[in-house]
């Protein structure tokens, strides 16, 4: 199974990169763009056929390494 994992800074934590991009979008005339958040995208092949097992494994990966849950949040799709 393949896990597609997104890690971003938690809402409420200043994302300086997101802010910089937001300003650039604004300068380009995209006045409708706001609240830009920059994150990481990772793909991991998980050698499991059972979805529940794969899910538990990916969650543990995120908690232990892929995200720093003090400042970041994560979400993923399994397929």
């Amino acid at each position: 199974m393949k896990a597609k994992i997104h890690v971003t800074l938690k809402q409420g934590i200043l994302d300086p990169q997101g802010k910089a991009i937001e300003h650039a979008l604004d300068s380009l005339g995209f006045k409708n763009a706001g609240n830009v958040r920059v994150g990481k995208y990772m793909e991991v092949d998980v050698n499991e056929t059972d979805k529940a097992k794969a899910d538990a494994a990916v969650k543990a990966m995120c908690e232990k390494l892929l995200a720093n849950t003090i400042v970041e949040e994560y979400r993923y799709e399994l397929g």
Binding site: L9, I13, L14, P16, Q17, A20, K40, L65, L66, N68, I70, V71
Partner: protein
């Protein structure tokens, strides 16, 4: 004293730390490759600055899983003194030996310059040779030094005087303008509640000799040696 300096792939301040302890202060220094799992006979451990594992994923995130870190944690748990400088501080945070996390500098820039830092707590094993409130000139060199922790932890650290170093003006005023990276509460260095693990973003090893034009950082290392000799001041944590 026998000081261990851990060398991760990508460490680049390890030899500076070795130089200060060995050549400036006349101590025995052992360089410890990150694959070591046993740390015998050491009096203190330094996690030096650099870019361990290329800062992949997050600063310090991979180094934290280096084989040596198990032994470092064990050493710290037994009360051993651990100093983390810059990337070493980031590793201590990722390893959970200190609370909080690092964010990208508010300006997004890598900042490499001398800054003013105030000694907020001179009653620690790492700062006892300074005067309380003393202002140091000391260089920083990082892109991720924007310290963050939740309000509950911040209040606890303030109450325990765990915030040891803060960015300030030349006159020692802690202001937003004197904050180079957006760090919460102008935090430049913190200590754990037990008082044996210190992390700091500024580089004391880069200003520990008069010949370099600045030796403000030397007293960090001298404080450590003094503490190790058992000559430390009465370590009384004073509430902030």
């Amino acid at each position: 004293m026998k000081i261990g300096v851990v060398v991760f792939p990508g460490s680049n301040c390890d030899h500076d730390c070795q130089h200060v302890f060995r050549d400036v202060l006349g101590q025995y220094v052992e360089m410890i490759w990150h694959k070591e799992t046993l740390l015998a006979g050491l009096d203190a451990i330094v996690l030096p600055g650099g870019f361990s594992y290329g800062d992949y994923l997050r600063t310090g995130a991979i180094a934290r899983f280096s084989p040596v870190m198990g032994a470092v944690k064990e050493f710290a748990k037994k009360g051993g003194m651990v100093l983390g400088i810059c990337n070493g501080f980031q590793i201590l945070l990722e390893a959970g030996l200190l609370p909080g996390a690092m964010l990208r500098n508010k300006s997004l820039h890598f900042i490499c310059k001398d800054v003013s830092v105030k000694v907020e707590n001179a009653a620690t094993s790492f700062t006892s040779a300074y005067e309380s409130g003393q202002v140091l000139k000391i260089p920083i060199a990082h892109a991720d030094g924007n310290y963050y922790t939740d309000p509950v932890m911040l209040a606890a650290m303030q109450a325990n005087a765990q915030i040891v170093l803060r960015y300030c003006t030349l006159e020692g005023k802690v202001t937003p303008e004197a904050n180079p990276n957006g760090s919460l509460d102008n935090i430049a260095g913190i200590i754990n509640a037990q008082g044996n693990v210190l992390g700091m973003m500024p580089h004391p090893e880069r200003c520990a000799e008069a010949v370099l034009g600045n030796d403000d950082g030397k007293l960090i290392f001298l404080s450590m040696l003094e503490a190790l000799k058992g000559n430390r001041k009465q370590l009384k944590m004073v509430g902030a």
